[in-house]
Structures are given as C-alpha cells and as structure tokens.
C-alpha cells in the first residue's frame, strides 16, 4: 500500500538521519519499529501544526501524517512536460521515441496453470486469470454459460489507486473489456451448458493491474484474451440414475477442455490532444495526463467492430473517427498474431511437459501428435470444434518455427527469461532460467555428451518440422480426423525419416551455429 510504504521509509529516515552528526546516545535506536512509528507520527504532526497554521492540530493527529504522505506521493505533471509533449507532437515525436501511430512492445507470458497470463505493454503490466465454476444459469438464458470480469487496481500500480471501491476508470475498463467479449460473442456460451436450466459453467476473468504505464485498457484486454485462450475447464459428463447427475472429471482422469473462442476482439486506444487534430495510439502515462480526450475501439482481425468507447473529452471530427477505425483494424491484426503465436508456444510447451522422457527430439515430436490425437479421441464424441483442429495444425507448424528460429526457444517461459536476461545489464546478468525449470533438481547441469547427442538429434527434428509445413502434412492431418488414427503415426514417422536423411546435412549446420544456449533449456524441458 502506498501509505504504509512511505511510513516505513519515514522510519528509516528517522533512524538513518539520526546518526548523521556525531554518534548519538542509543535512545532512538533501541525502540521497536512500532513505537518509532508512533514517535514519528507525534513529531510530524506537531511540527506541521507549528509551521502551517492551516492544518488542524489535535483531532487530525494521525491524519496530518497520512495527508502529508499522500501529498508527497502523488504523481505530478510539470508545466514543462505538458508543453513539451504538445510541442513534440507537432513534429510527430513522442517522448519515448515512438511515432504517433506506433504501438509499444507487447510481451505475453503465461504461468504454470492453465488460464493465467501476464502482459507487458512497455511499462504497463497487467495479469489476467481465468477460473470456472458450475452454477445455475440465468432464468432467461437456461442454455448459456456466464462470463464475468473483475478488475483489481492494485495500489502498487499507481499512487492514485486505492484499495476498496473501484474508481471510475476501473469500472470503465471492466465495462469496455466485458462489452468487447460479450456483445461480439467472442466466447461461445452455449458450449458451457452442462445441464440445461440447471447447471452451466460460469467463467470468471480476474484482471490485476500491476503497473500503470499508460493504456491499461489495451493491456488488460490482451491479458484477458490470452488467459481465455489458454484456459482449460474440467470435462464433465452426465451420469447417475436418470442421467441428471453431473460428474466433473479431475484433470488427471480426463484432459480438461479449452474454451471455444470464435474470434479475438482487440482493444486499441487513441489519445486526442487539444492542439489541431493530433492523435496518438497507445498513450503512455504522461501522455494520458496531458491529452484532452481518448477513444477505445475494440475490433477483431477480420475487421468487425465489436465496441467503441469515447467518454467525453475533446471533440473529434467524423473523418478522424473513421481514420481511427481503420488504424485500429490494422493494429488488431498484428496484435492478434502476437497473441496467437504466444498461445501456440505455450501449448507446445505444455505438450512437451506431458511427455515423460525422450532421448531424441524426433520421438518427442511424434508423441506430440500422439498426445494430440489422444485428446482428439475424447473430443470425437462431442462437436469437433475448429479451434482444437486448427490447434493441432498449428502445433505442427509451431515446432517448425520454434526450432528454426532458435531465439524464440520453446515455451513462453524461456521466451520470458530470454527477454528478462536481455533487458538486464548486457553481459552482467548470469544466465537466468526463470520459471519452474529452475527448481527441478533434474534440470541442473546438462552433461556435454548428452548435449552433443541431442544436437545431432536436433538436426533430425528440424527437417521433420520443416516438412510439416508442407501441404502433404496438412492433408494427412485432415484425413486423421475421420480415419482411424493408429495407422497415421507410423506413416508420419516414416515420412519424417525420409526427409530427415535429405535435409539433415543442410540443416544441421544451421542449428549448430544458432544459439546453443536456448537449445540447452529446451533439452532440460523435455527431460523434465
């Protein structure tokens, strides 16, 4: 909390500064922290009352200290900054070096659990978490599940956020994201029905704002989408005497199912300034303080407008609005691709985690398909949803991308640790592995012989993955849907082994040269 932290700081100031001259008698040092704080409160309010006659004295005893710390903690905009931002925008410059229509770097990481995502957009940091529960449906909609969004504006994000009732901006943020997902029917609600009229799944999306660097809406929206895409709900079936009892299967018994998300509504925020018709995309914290008005457009990659929000502020002509809509759909395409790539990487990594131990990467890839097919077995009984189909196709494509471009590594955890280590002092930080792999005792120390062996095997897996992007593999994937699946894996394996010999020599060089270190981590993941 902002308040308590400043009081802590005040205590250390007291203790530290007390020794600034000659050595003091120990009285100020030996008191426990609680009474020190008391001391400080007493002294500060009395001093304040002597120096400023405006502060009420006795009744606002402690309020004096907290009011002062609140006064000291508020972020203030200087006159210089306001003038500068507007002057710089006149020459199409923004203070962080972006162009007016440029987005900040978007980083999406996932947690260990399904359905938790954290998004960083420049300095803005938002975490999204999706959970589900079986509830009674609404009376008017007995066949649909429910979805609700909860936002928490943590005081650590911004000194102006306070615990307790959400402020206006918090409610507005929740409403924009809710409208974008609900009105456009992005998440399929009918598939969440278990027993019509009695039991449906209620999806709850929690958004925690961890750092406010401007443009919370966009970041929170991406966090919600990323969490929804990676969320898995338990599978349940009807049983009991008259088929009215619902049995929820634990994840160990039956693999949990993903949500059906038809499309991804992406929110793009624009900031308008009072000078001319200057507009910026993705405003930072200082720009938000200076700008005269804002508009958020929620649009999906196909160009369908899901929602528009403009709450007051500077008037904008119609032509500008249309321009914003066009810009928004362009941005939405690139952001959608970003989200999908991150989700695919996470899914691939999740599959790999399920595999127990494999010495060669080829076997690993084959068993990925086995696993996916195993999951498809369960889905065969239900409606074949396109997202899992496309998931499998993309799964084949993803190992291709990840093994070719080594720097992306496998799994978002390695990606995040890559970025963390690159963001830190270049060359100073030790190799930071981050994520769960660092605590697993088996992942310590890869012996060089194994590494050499795995590198050779790596060469085999690459051409196999490359081949998967060709049409023949896609056709094979299509056929697999209907035909018996056991026949396919051997044929795939034989396909891969053929192309392996052809492309091995040409590919091996490339993989050996490219980033050995990420491969190191990849080995550790498949081992664990």
């Amino acid at each position: 909390r902002a308040h308590s932290s400043t009081e802590q700081d005040c205590c250390t100031t007291l203790v530290a500064a007390s020794g600034s001259s000659t050595i003091l008698p120990p009285f100020s040092v030996h008191r426990p922290a609680g009474t020190l704080r008391q001391l400080f409160r007493v002294s500060s309010s009395t001093f304040i009352s002597t120096q400023l006659a405006t502060f009420p004295t006795y009744p606002a005893f402690c309020a004096g200290a907290s009011m002062d710390s609140r006064l000291a903690n508020t972020w203030r905009l200087t006159v210089n900054e306001k003038k500068f931002i507007e002057t710089a925008l006149a020459s199409d410059l923004r203070i962080d070096g972006r162009k007016p229509l440029e987005y900040r770097k978007l980083t999406i990481n996932f947690g260990r659990e399904d359905g938790s995502a954290d998004v960083q957009l420049g300095h803005t940091h938002v975490m999204g978490f999706v959970s589900s529960q079986l509830v009674q449906p609404y009376r008017e909609r007995p066949n649909e599940g429910t979805m609700s969004i909860f936002t928490e504006f943590s005081p650590m994000a911004d000194p102006s956020f306070e615990l307790g009732r959400p402020g206006e901006s918090a409610i507005e943020l929740g409403r924009i994201i809710d409208r974008g997902l609900r009105e456009s029917r992005a998440v399929d609600m009918e598939s969440l029905c278990v027993l019509a009229g009695k039991l449906v799944w209620a999806i709850r999306i929690d958004l925690h704002i961890l750092d406010n660097g401007g443009n919370l809406v966009d970041a929170a929206n991406v966090a919600a989408l990323a969490a929804l895409l990676t969320f898995r709900r338990p599978e349940c079936s009807l049983g009991g005497e008259n088929g009215q009892e619902v049995v929820v299967h634990p994840p160990e018994a039956k693999d949990p199912l993903p949500l059906i998300v038809h499309h991804l509504p992406i929110a793009v925020t624009f900031g308008f300034f009072s000078t001319e018709y200057t507009m910026v995309v993705d405003p930072t914290h200082s720009e938000e303080a200076v700008m005269g008005g804002r508009m958020t457009v929620t649009v999906n990659a196909s160009g369908d407008i899901c929602a528009i929000q403009k709450a007051g502020g500077v008037g904008v002509p119609q032509s500008e609005i249309m321009r914003c809509l066009r810009l928004a759909s362009d941005k939405a395409e690139s952001i959608t691709k970003n989200i999908k790539d991150a989700v695919e990487a996470f899914n691939t990594e999740r599959m790999l985690r399920k595999i127990k131990r494999h010495s060669t990467a080829v076997a690993a890839n084959v068993s990925i398909e086995n696993d996916v097919k195993g999951q498809k077995d369960k889905l065969a009984g239900q409606r074949v949803n396109e997202s899992s189909m496309s998931q499998m196709e993309r799964l084949k494509l993803k190992p291709d991308e990840s093994s070719i471009s080594q720097n992306d590594g496998l799994g978002s955890e390695t990606r995040s640790s890559d970025q963390i280590s690159s963001q830190r002092a270049e060359g100073n930080a030790p190799l930071f592995l981050g994520g769960p792999s660092s605590w697993d005792p088996h992942t310590h120390g890869v012996d060089p012989d194994f590494l050499k062996a795995s590198l050779a095997a790596q060469g085999k897996s690459n051409p196999k993955a490359e081949q998967s992007s060709e049409d023949s593999d896609d056709d094979v994937a299509m056929q697999e849907k209907d035909a018996s699946e056991d026949v396919k894996p051997p044929s795939l394996a034989t396909d891969s082994s053929e192309t392996v010999e052809e492309q091995k020599t040409s590919i091996v060089k490339k993989t050996l040269k490219d980033a050995v270190k990420p491969k190191n981590r990849r080995r550790k993941k498949t081992r664990s």
Binding site: D9, A17, I23, L24, P26, F47, I95
Partner: protein
C-alpha cells in the same frame, strides 16, 4: 553471504557491497575518535551496523555512509534537487522533492528577495533548489540561493523535459569525471541538463528530437557500465546523424 569478522577494520568494507546486518565497525577497538555516520548506518552500543543495502563509502577524515540506489529520495542537507511546486502559502511554497513529505521553500529564499518581489510559481513549476535542512520528522527546508547568498543557477527551469530516474543514476550523472554517456552525447549534440540528487533529470535543447534522444539515452544507461554507455551513446549518435 560469507560471514565477515565482526570487528573487521572498516577499510575492508569501504567501497564494498554491504547488506543490512553487517557490522562494519567495532568501537571498542577505537578510542578517542569521533566518527560521523551518514545514511544507512546505525549504532548498536559499540558496533556500527548497516541498515540499508548498498555500497559503503568513506570520506576523510571520519565520515561513513551507505550509498544505495532507489526510486525514493531521502532528503539530506546540502543536496541540490529538482522540485515541483505543489502549492503557494503566504510564507513558503510547498515543493515536492520525491521524499517522504513535501518540502518548504521560504518565499524570501531568493537572491535579492524581499516581500515586494516574491516570485510567482504556479502549481507544476519545476525548480532547481538546494536542501538546507532535512531533519527526521520535519518537512525539509529548501532555498534558491547557495551558501554565499548568490542565485547560482537555482530557480525555475523553463521549457525542456523532466525525467524521473533512480537516485543512483543521478549520482552517476553528477560524478566527476563526466560520465561517458553525457560526454559522448555532449560532443555532438547541444543540450543543457540539470540533475537533481532526488532522481530527477531535466533536459533542454533547441529541438524536441535532441531532448528525446538525450533523455532516452540517459534512461537506458542506468544499468550499463562505462564502456557500454560509451558504445550505446555512439551508436545512438550514428543513427541520429543518419536521419
């Protein structure tokens, strides 16, 4: 952390990283000496122990303190800081200097300041001031004149842009010899800069692009070594000159 001998000579710890709990000085071994303790140190009977993580510094003849870098500022006398005017009262201006409480700038603490020519600072004005008094529990006191009574660059800063950084970075920017990033940028780009020890930096130049380049370069040099700073600044200048 390896255990250091509790009565180690202080020279062992000077310019080393210390963490809270380290005992750097044992007074029982030194008699008849006066030692000055700055921030981050406290006295526990006969032992001087560290209460803030950072680097232990020593200056002749007898002053010890711990230097650490954080976002918040602990007001200290004789520091030059950048403050933002919050409010004007009859007797003093309330100025925010990123400390635990707002500081007071007496209305008359300007060169040739009398009741008749009180400067008008509106809320949000950026000023370069000197901390006169910073006692614990009291609001710090500021002044726009130096110790001799001259203005010496103190006062309101016009135009330009202010950035916030950590206290460690601002100390590095003020160190002499000039830190590499400022030196390299200064050779090619004309700009003026004011650094406050409270983690605020003000940059001004003829065109906004130069201000933005300099500001971002300074922000980026937070965690870089001297050599890395020089390389980064040179690369940036090349890119700027190309445009």
């Amino acid at each position: 952390m390896e255990t250091k001998p509790s009565n180690g000579s202080p020279a062992k710890f000077v310019d080393q990283l210390v963490v809270p709990g380290d005992v750097i000085l044992d007074l029982s071994t030194m008699a008849e000496q006066t030692i000055k303790l700055g921030g981050g140190l406290r006295q526990d009977c006969d032992a001087i122990s560290v209460i803030k993580a950072g680097i232990l510094r020593f200056s002749k003849p007898n002053k010890y303190w711990v230097e650490s870098s954080q976002k918040r500022y602990v007001p200290c006398a004789e520091d030059s800081v950048l403050g933002i005017v919050v409010d004007c009262k009859p007797d003093n201006f309330l100025v925010d200097i990123k400390g635990p409480s707002v500081a007071f700038l007496p209305v008359l603490a300007f060169e040739g300041g009398t009741r008749r020519n009180i400067p008008r600072f509106e809320a949000g004005t950026l000023i370069y001031v000197r901390v006169v008094k910073a006692n614990p529990g009291m609001n710090p006191e500021l002044s726009c004149v130096d110790a001799t009574g001259k203005a010496a660059q103190y006062g309101a800063l016009k135009e330009g842009l202010m950035f916030e950084c950590s206290t460690g970075l601002s100390r590095m920017l003020l160190s002499s010899p000039t830190c590499p990033v400022l030196e390299t940028l200064g050779k090619k780009l004309p700009f003026e800069i004011a650094v406050g020890l409270n983690g605020r930096v003000w940059v001004n130049a003829g065109s906004p692009s130069i201000v933005i380049v300099v500001g971002n370069a300074i922000m980026k040099s937070e965690s870089l070594t001297k050599v890395q700073q020089k390389i980064m600044a040179e690369k940036l200048l090349q890119r700027v000159q190309q445009e």
